[in-house]
Each structure stands twice: as C-alpha cells, then as structure tokens.
Amino acid sequence: MDIDADEHPGDSHARLKTEMWGKCCVVACNEQNGNPAGMNWRRVGEVEGGHYPNTQRHYLSMGCNHCLEPSCMIGCPTEAYTKDPQTGVVVHSADTCIGCQYCTWNCSYGVPQYNPARGVVGKCDLCHNRLADGQAPACANACPEQAIQIEIVDIARWRAEHTGANAPGLPSADDSISTTRVTLPAGLPPDMGRVDTQRITTELPHWPLVFMLVLTQLAVGAFTALWMLDLFGFGANLSIPAIAALSLAGMSLGASTLHLGRPIHAWRAVKGLRRSWLSREVLTLSLFAGAASAFAGMLFLDLPGRGFAGFIAALCGAAGAFSSARIYIVKARPAWFSRYTIAEFFSTTLFLGPLFVQATGAGTAGWLTWASVAGGAAQFITQSMKFLWMTRSEVFELRASSLLLTGLLKNHFLARMAILLGGGLILPLAGAPAWATLALALSGEWLGRWLFFVSVVPKNIAAAFTSGRAA
C-alpha cells in the first residue's frame, strides 16, 4: 500500500503482478460489495502460451483500471460517474444511475456491469472508502501473493508510460489510458494470448432499442419526405401519414425508456450533454418530436410557414439519427466502431421513411420509390462491406463478429440480406403494394438491428476458460 494523496494529486494505480492462481480477489470482492455470484467486479482472466513443457499461463486479475480518460464516464448521460481529483478513483453512483447501460458498451475492459436485480450498473471503486480509512481494498487484502498493490502516480508521467498497462489478453491501454500497471515476467512466449477465443457468444439484443432505433429512423425519414412533398407541392392528405409517423416516433421514444433499469428517472438522461452522445440523442430526438408535432399540426390545420417547421424537424431528426449512431461508435465494440454504423442508421431512414409515406397513402410521387430503393441498396452495400471488412480484419473482435454471422447467426444474416433484396429492390420494382413492401422492409430492418446488437463482440479482458463472462 502506498497511498500518498497529499503530495501528488493523481491517479490511483493498481499494480498487478501476475503470479495469481487462487482467485481469492474475486471472492473477496464479491463479499466486500455484497454482490451476487453472477456479478464480479474483479475478475481473473487467463492467458497462455508456449509449448509443452515450456508452457506459461498467467492469471490477470482485473477490477476497474480507473482510466485517465474513463470511457464509462464520458458516455454516461446522467453524470453518475465521477473521477476523484485526489485519488483518480472513478466512482459510480447507483442512486444517480438510470440503468441505461451505455457505460457497459463504452468500457473496453467490461468493467461496469449491469445488475438487473437493481436496475443499475455497478463497478469496482477500488474500495476507496476503505482506502480513506487507511485500509487495503478487499482484493489486495485477500491476495496471498500480494499481487495487487495500490499507489498514487503522477498523471503526466503515466500518460507517457501508460503502455505499462498493456499485456497479452488485455485491450489496448490507449482506448482510455488505463492506469493499471501489469507486471509480467520477461521472456513471454510469442504466442501468449487469451484462452477464451474459441468461445464466442452473442450479446444481449436490447429489444426496446431495436424497436426504438428503427422506428425513430423511419419517422425521421418519413418527416423528411413529407416536408419535401409539402415543399414541392406534391402534397395531398399529408397530415395522416404525418400523424401516423408522429405516433410511431412517440411510441418508440416512450418504449425506449423500457430499456432503462429505472424508467422513472429517464429525464436525467439529458444531464450529460457536454460529453454523452446518449444525452445528445435524447435532446435531438425530443426536439425532432417537438418540431414534427408542430409540422404535423400545421399540416392538419393547413397553416402557412410549415416549411420551416418541417425543415427543423428534418434537421433535428438527422441530428437525432446521427447522435443515435454515435452512441454505438465506441472503441470497446469494434464492430460498431466505424462509419458503417452511421451508414446503417441513415440507410434505414432513407429506406423506410419514403416507403412509410407511400404506404400510408400520401405519396404517389415516383421519386419516393426511387429514394426507398436507394436506401435499400445503400443498406445492402453497407452490410456487405461491413461483413467483408470484418472477415478480413486482424482484430479478433471483428473476426469473431463475422464468425457469428457465418455461424450461429448465419440464417438470420442470410434472411436479413434476402429481405433487403426483396423489400429494397424486387417488390418496389415489381410494383407491389407499398404496405406489403413496407411490412417486409420494416421486419428486415428490425432483424438487421437485432443482428447489430447480438453480433457485436465487445473488447474485454481475457476470461477464464470454463467460467462464463461477468454479467
């Protein structure tokens, strides 16, 4: 224990030797924090390399790395995270948290874990309340090998030296500037690496989000189309599709609060505007809903000046779709961390919006069909290119995602692509009724968004071979 907070305001820095075999730290952590067995704020991963008998296996014990640039904190929409200026400990408040789980997507180490029983996230706080009392954290206290040590380091120096937090089986410390110094013995076998790479599993689908994302994107596309129809004078009976699209958007935004562990506190999601794309999404989509309501109302009442309201709705909608996409562009989830996410979300907008307007009986304009076909084609190209990009990648998580799409999720993926061809190209060009095309296209986008969530393979610390991942 080497805490010297008076001298150097800085970051607590867990030093990690890797001669650990007992997993005492995991048990001690769960006991300290009263967590159920399925949640482990401290985990021990295994890395292995070499050939018999010159085999090495090392055990990496990891709680929170209390990063210099904590991605959990940056993503949090409610400011539930704070970084202690003296100790650098990243502390999460279960009372402020609304259970949006965005931080769990942001962390490259899988540190914050959602506790469904509580409806909030929890994570290692380095037992900072024990540290303040001059006591060691539970993990460090329990380790028979004294493998976990805590010290305060100089921030500037650590920025320069932070590669010391890299080790085989750990995500790059660059993602968030982890402050855990990992000490491995010299002369590691070159093939030293994770032992859990053969076990690739799907992620949670987050149904409310699948539902919400596709429908809000549809609504944004629909309002943009309606605004343009109205602007260029194609308009007749535009108010019905506008009200229908508005209802969908409202419903889906409402439904999205079901994704929260604590829906009653959903309003807190705008608190993090300065940093969090989730806050920005909530704000822009709310503005979109407001402007779209105004536009729809003006359409219904046939009021003048609605072109401006429509423009604002389209603008806020686009900003909303963009914010939605940016939520998922996080380093910790490589399959999301690309422009394909933006392309996928906007393709949905272009694909479904005009179709919806057509299907609800407003537009007979030919360009609506062509816009939708363009959207479908864009989605097809986006998905194809993303798939090829992932299969050819040297990044484990991307390859793993593509393996899910060709393995466990093969039929879903094929269906998704086939529906794109059917709903995006064949049906519209064959002149099928717009409602039929819309039904097919919408189901395809829902399937696609479900795949988006379940097929992402997050970065994480190496896991043990037999045990499941932490919640």
Binding site: E19, W21, G22, K23, C24, V26, V27, A28, N30, E31, Q32, N33, G34, P36, A37, G38, N40, E48, G50, H51, Y52, P53, T55, Q56, R57, A94, D95, C97, I98, G99, A117, R118, G119, V120, G122, C127, N129, R130, D133, Q135, A138, A142, C143, P144, E145, V195, Q198, R199, L260, G261, R262, P263, I264, H265, A464, F465, T466, S467, G468
Partner: protein, 720 residues
Amino acid sequence: MSLNWKRLIGIDNLSGEYAFARAESTGYTSAKKIPESWVKTTCGYCSVGCGIEIGVKQGRAVACRPDSTHPVNRGKLCPKGLSEHYTIDAENRAKHPLLRKNGILTRVSWDEAIATMVEKFRATQEKHGPDSLGVLSTGQLVTEEFYTLGKLVQLGFGTKNYDGNTTLCMASAVSGYKLSFGSDGPPGSYEDMEHADVVLLIGANIAENHPILCQYLDTNQEQTVIVADPRVTKTAMIADIHLPLKPRSDLALLNGIAHLLITLNLIDREYIHAHTTGFEEFEKFVAEYTPERTALLTGLSEEQIVKTAVLYGKSKAGFIGWTMGVNHSTKGSETVAAICNLALLTGNVGRAGAAPFSITGQCNAMGTREAGFASGMPGYRKFDDPVARAELAAIWNVDESRLPQKRGLAYPDIIEGAVGTKIRALWVIATNPMVSFPNQDVLRHALSNLEFLAVQDGYHPTPTTELADLVLPAAIWGEKEGTYTNSERRVSKVNKAVEPPAESLSDFDILLRIAAKLGCKEELFPGWSCPEDAFNEWRRVSAGRLCDYSGISYTDLAEGPVQWPRKPRLYSCGQFEHPGKKAKFISAAWEPYPEQPNKDYPLVLNTGRTVEHWHTRTKTKEVPILERLSPVAWLEMNPRDAKPLGLRSHDRVDLVSRRGRVRGVELRLTEITAPGQVFMPFHYFEANVNDVTQSAFDPISREPNYKQCAIRVERTGANV
C-alpha cells in the same frame, strides 16, 4: 414472488440490500456482511489448517475471514475459505433422519432411525458374522469424533472392517513413513519450506490444492524450488526448475537421484551410519539407476537429473514435499519410502528446513491417522504389538482379546467384499464414494448388493445418500466443537458458530446415541457428554506415544494451535520408531504403471483438482461464487493430440476406458498437458472421471492408482 412496482419503475434500486457500513471489526464493507460476532475456528477443507473466523449475525454465518493471529495462514485464505460460510446455509443440508420405506426415503424420528440402524447392523452381524459390517469413514470429522467412532466400531460393533476415505488420499504416505521410519508422522513443519535452500515438490500442485502454502515458498530468496510433475501445473510454472517427467516415473527419478548422491559422494555417511540400516544393500540396489537409465525411464535429460541431485545433495537443508502424484499409485508407499531414502542419505531429517514431508489432503486426515482405529490402533499403535495392546486394554478397561488381532479390510477391499458376500451392511460417514471411488461400476455393484446402507452426512441429497436405506443428518463445520490436526501436526481448535439445521446432530452426539442404543455407552464412553471428554481420554491414550497429545488441553488450544509433540520436528535426535531406533533404507524398484496405453486406448489420463472445489463438491457446489468460477468439468488435451481427431476447444467429448465412459466433457486444448496425456478434475459427479479410472491398488497401503489409466477420447455422440 410479489411484484415490486417501485423496483420496476426505478424508484427502488435495492439500496438497502446493497448498503455499505463501517464497523470496527470489518472496516467499510457491505452492511449485510457485518456480523454481530466472530467465532474463531479452523478451516474445514484441506489439511493446511488455516485459522479462520466465522462472522455470525442473527444466528447465521454471514462471513468468513482469516484469523490473523493463526500461525499457519498469516492472515490469508484461499477462495474456498473466504466463502466457507456458504457451505453452512446451503439448501441441501440434511435436516431430518430418513429411512427408506417402500422404496422411498421417509422422515423418521432419531429414535426410530438409530434403533433401526442398530437392529439391522446387529441382525446382519448375527447372521453373517461380526465382520460382515463395513464402516467407511472420512478425514472430515474432528479428532474427538474419530476417536469415539474407532472405539464404537471396533469394540462396540466388533467389526474390524473399518477404514476411511483417507485410504483414497494419503494412505501411501502413512505406509511409506512406516516402512522408512517405523511410524507414521510427518517429521517437518511448514516453516521448513522457508528454511530450506532446496524445495523439491513431487506430484504436488500446491498452488492449486494448498494455495496458502505458497506463501512459505516466496520468503527465502536463496531458495531453489524444483517441481517434478508430468503436467505444467501452476506450481510447476512458479518453480525455478520444472522436471516434466513421464507419468509415474517418480520412483525411477528418486532412485536415480539416490544413485547420483552416492556416486558423487553427496551423502552424510556419519548420519547414515548412526541412524539407519540397510545402506549397503540399498547402494547396490540403486546402482542400476544410472543417469542414462533414469533419463530413459523418466524422459528427463541426464543434465536435469544430475542438476537436481547436486542441488539437493549440496543443499544445507533440503525439503521434499509430495501429495497425490506420489500417493495415488500402486507404487505409492514405496515411492514415499524412496523420498525418505533421499532424506536419510543426506541427513535431511529433523533439522530446520530438512524434511521429507507429506502434504496431507483433508482437514483432519491427521486426526484419524493418529486417534482413529482403522489401519492401526490409536496413538500409532500396531495391532500386533503386545505391549501396545496391553496398554490400550488397560486404559480402556476391556479384555485384550476384544482388540482386533490385525487390521481389517481396507476401503477398496470393503467395497470388493460387498461385491462378494463378505460385507453385507455398510455405514458410510461424511464421504461420498459415488464420486470419489475409482471404477464406479464396481462400487455401484457393491452398494446394490448390500442388505443395509446407512449414510451419515451433513448434506442430502448427495449421490451417495440417495442410495442409502438410512440417512443420518449430521452437523458440519461451524456447527460443532473439536480439534483438527493439520499436515504439520498442528492441533487447532474447531468451534461452533451456529446451530445445526433442523434435527441434525453433531457426529459426536450421533455416535453416543448409537452407543447408548447398542448398550456400550457406559462401558466405552463413561460419563461422556461433550467432545472434550473424548479429547481428554485421547490425551491419556496418546501419552508417551510419538503423537503425544497429553500436554495439550482445550485450555491451551484456546490460546492458539499447538504442534504435537510440542516441538516443530520429529526425529531431531535421530531416534526413529523401528526397533533399534534406526530408520531403514527401502529398495523399491520402478515398475511401469499397470495400464499402459495401446492402439485402442492411446492416451494416459491424469486426474486432479481445481482450487475452487473441494473433493466431491458436496460442499463447494453449494457456494455460488465457486460454482461461478468453476462450473463444469473439463478435459485438458494437447492440441497435437486433438488435431488428428478433428477436435477443438469447447467441443464435447467422451472419455472411454475399458471400464466405462464419461460423457459430454468440455474439451480444453492446452500445452499444459503433454502430448499423449490428458487431465481431468475429479470433483464433478455430473461428469465423473471415476467412471473410467481403474481398480488398481497399492499392495501395501491399498491406495488406488487413480492416475495413469489408458483411455481414448471421442467426440460426444460420434458413435451413437
């Protein structure tokens, strides 16, 4: 379950359940884990014998922490110890006596349970002879209970066919010590692992199985740690030198080292002359274990063998520790003797840092070795020693003729006896053979042959209690009082923290009730009411013996644990327990292990443990965090063996031997295991490796050769 709408909408986030608080005894921690009081006791898992405190809140065990004043564990515990309180509050604790009626285990009163048991056992013995009753005990009870049980079985029921699961574990160490030194009794202490400048561990993966002992390895910078193990275990990885020898070539290695020590003149001739017999014969015997031949037999290089011999021979103090890699073998006893040979050659006995040291398995295996009445009479007395017989008969005030003339059947022979007609009724206490016995097919046959099977256990159902005609519910660790003796002969107090569940009783109370029903309570246990009564008699019985407890009282133990015979080492004066007080060199020839691989069964199966689980998982299965960390069995295989089979990690495979098949085991490809060898943990009933292990036993100790059976691996479902 009531719907908590406040939780659903998020007003409530269970902040009460997840609240933290500060307490003087714990510091800042989860509020629900802060106990009202702490009860000092000794860990109930392995033989390291860690001091532990149980936190009690409203009559329930809510926390465990290391007893920082205990000399063994120095303020640390392994993950099993840290979560041991969960074993007490488990759902499947045995709560009521159960008797099989019309095929169904039915709740009965204690009176009916014990009356039925005594009646059935007596009837069987009257019909088929006294020895038709077999008793299988354990290493899990307190010494007081072992002492009581031994008298009850041997003098009360009058059967000598009584043995413990310790025969599956450390019987070879006992036999080996007896061969070399004339008595059981590990001569060293844990602190010797610190004092030694060379520590040689043979077939001992202490980092996995006795993790707390690793603390003793790290302290001495001058020390060289050598680990001989066919698998690159966690312990092998932290060693300075790993000797990746062929399976069960340890005896060849030991003889080869002995030969080198003699030829390089690294032996203590003065010590040999003064304190041993049989050196000349031994010298001739090991002459054939030249470095060339030893290298051939062990698969090690001559250089590795010479280096090991020189390091050990030149060490100021050499420590050799071993566990199941040595004991689980048909040559186990002789291999133990071969370890003792090295210590005798170099005078590495009875000095600081110098010991041939058996690291035992269960928390109180030592207690049953000393005070039990199975493979010997209490106090390391031999059945055929007339002086010892007279002594005991006098203390107990019984006719000497009531003491058995010789040892009864050992564990595997009791099972074999039940397959035949020798054993007709069986009493199983705190052990779970349906997981632990090798070649389960034989065991199933044996148990199905019995006229009456009584199982006394803290848990129900277990795979064994499910087959019982009578289940006696017992209190477990944390619910009763007594003493455990650890590997280094340290006697520690075991204390009661909470009441046993429902109707369950401590084994001590159960035994006294049985004795009362049997009508021998006043004769054998006069006036006894608590474990201390047994302890005090045991102190008198052990007085003057090597394992002398006479100077150790409960009052002393309340102050802290005590090593018998109140000194850290045995044989410091060079006086051994053989007649003539000299130790013996034992010439034990290496032999190939009994079941060699062939075309149909090309792989050599090794079995062992994982740190998260204890033995047959009766207890640790009930600890959620341990189950989380190690939920299923796995098979370790080298990728070079998997390739031709087209197998990958996480594939489900079957293990097939001549005796059976283990189905659906998760495959783990790893370079930890050598090509040609596979490894599987033995804790899991759901995938029980003992369905394929063999019925091969050490002729001296009767310990099973669990390791090195020939198997093949098939993809599950491939040949259906």
